[in-house]
Symmetry: C2
Subunit: 254 residues, 2 copies
């Protein structure tokens, strides 16, 4: 008896949203797919690169539907790709899909293909804010109680992590950034170098390096990534850099 | 008077260490360089892709020398690339170089080209451990006092962050992983899903998903990345997944 090969679902990270930052491995995975599903904006990006690929666009907020569709289609013997912006493992589709496949006991292989996540692509635009230990926190309270988010921010600030915020604001969520800044302020001077980066790596990207004391007033949206420095972070002009250590300049690291 | 264009230094992230995970943008930046400098292992990787490129390999532990060499060479009118594995902004060369250029007042442009950092490439191998808020901590105490590292670990555990450890061990540093596990244990059950991934994305990659209670005994080295789950992280077989929220299964996120 030959064992039938299981169908494959690739969960593919597209990076920041420009073709130059999609890895060859991600592209190769998409080429192998018979069908690619994803949120409509990301499907448009794939269409620009692989115009002949069969694709199905889903609206936002329907992750479980997308995953179920992918699993059911794969079970019919088809290779399916699910695309995420950034990295599919960071607040992305990989976890939802893996849980669904496990809970359904679906006989499907899942391969996660990493992409450049927003904290790295956004950081590169302004220098090196993540040069030392950092914490990544989403300000979306759709699935996480705000109290848990605020507690994380307070403790991350106390621990002197550089803090990177995903989803700092959306149409429905105004004021979260201000509350986040207040939670951090107990452990950081208002002069602490901070920054926001919008649409990193895309044509209409924007960014601004500014003191923490001014960050709360920034008008941001869901396309922004925010950085709040640690106690050693420096800034000049449009640059923000967190040194790799606390030692004197001239020290060497591995 | 025409203003002379400033020389450029590209700080380029090579990702996990296989050609399929170097972005086209990184490759294009390297192609534009007259000289590429870096730690010898990464220079070998570039040589495999761009065999005719002029390169200069440096031993480990000489970051400042590498950067000074890059700046001085660039100032003579040459386009220089500095390569890092992973992302150059995460414990990488970008910060050191930017600080040096700033402090030297060198008339040089620096462009940081992001790469896939180890927490993302390693996470993809085992599923989606970083599906929710996470903290990245290096266990190297060459430039950071151990007390500061331990404090971060304790507070990150208290905040219920997924914790990702870079540099969990090296030839000179044995026992750091055990002390890190002890720092976390006050706020995590010994059953907490954890994992280590070695040489993610390379031919000889290895990984293991195991309970936190067994992690301290793992024999790791500097090529490993470690994950310790939060209170909701699940594992089965070789998979480790942190759900995106604390709500019931079936909830939808943006």
């Amino acid at each position: 008896m030959t064992r039938q090969k299981k169908p494959v679902i690739f969960v593919v990270g597209l990076g920041p949203g420009n073709p130059g930052e999609i890895t060859p491995r991600a592209l190769e995975a998409l080429r192998r797919c018979d069908l690619v599903v994803g949120y409509s904006v990301y499907i448009d990006l794939v269409r620009a690169i692989l115009p002949d690929k069969e694709m199905r666009a889903f609206p936002m907020m329907h992750e479980l539907d997308r995953c179920r569709h992918a699993v059911e289609t794969a079970l019919s013997g088809v290779t399916v790709g699910i695309v995420s912006s950034g990295d599919p493992g960071v607040y992305g589709m990989a976890g939802v899909l893996l849980e669904l496949v496990h809970d359904m006991r679906a006989e499907v292989e899942v391969e996660v293909v990493a992409g450049i996540t927003a904290c790295c692509s956004a950081a590169a635009r302004i220098g090196a804010p993540l040069g030392h230990d950092f914490a990544v926190v989403s300000l979306s309270d759709l699935l996480t109680p705000w109290e848990a988010i605020e507690k994380r921010l307070r403790l991350a600030a106390e621990a002197d992590f550089v803090i990177c915020l995903y989803n700092p604001a959306s149409k429905k969520r105004r004021g979260h950034l201000r509350r986040a800044c207040e939670a951090v302020a107990a452990h950081r001077s208002p002069d602490t170098p901070s920054a926001w980066v919008r649409m990193a790596g895309r044509e209409d990207e924007e960014y601004r390096v500014l003191p923490l004391g001014e960050l709360a007033n920034a008008e941001l949206d869901m396309f922004c990534t925010v950085f709040i420095g640690n106690s050693t972070t420096r800034s000049w002009g449009d640059r923000m850099v967190t040194p790799r250590g606390y030692d004197l300049p001239g020290a060497e690291n591995e």
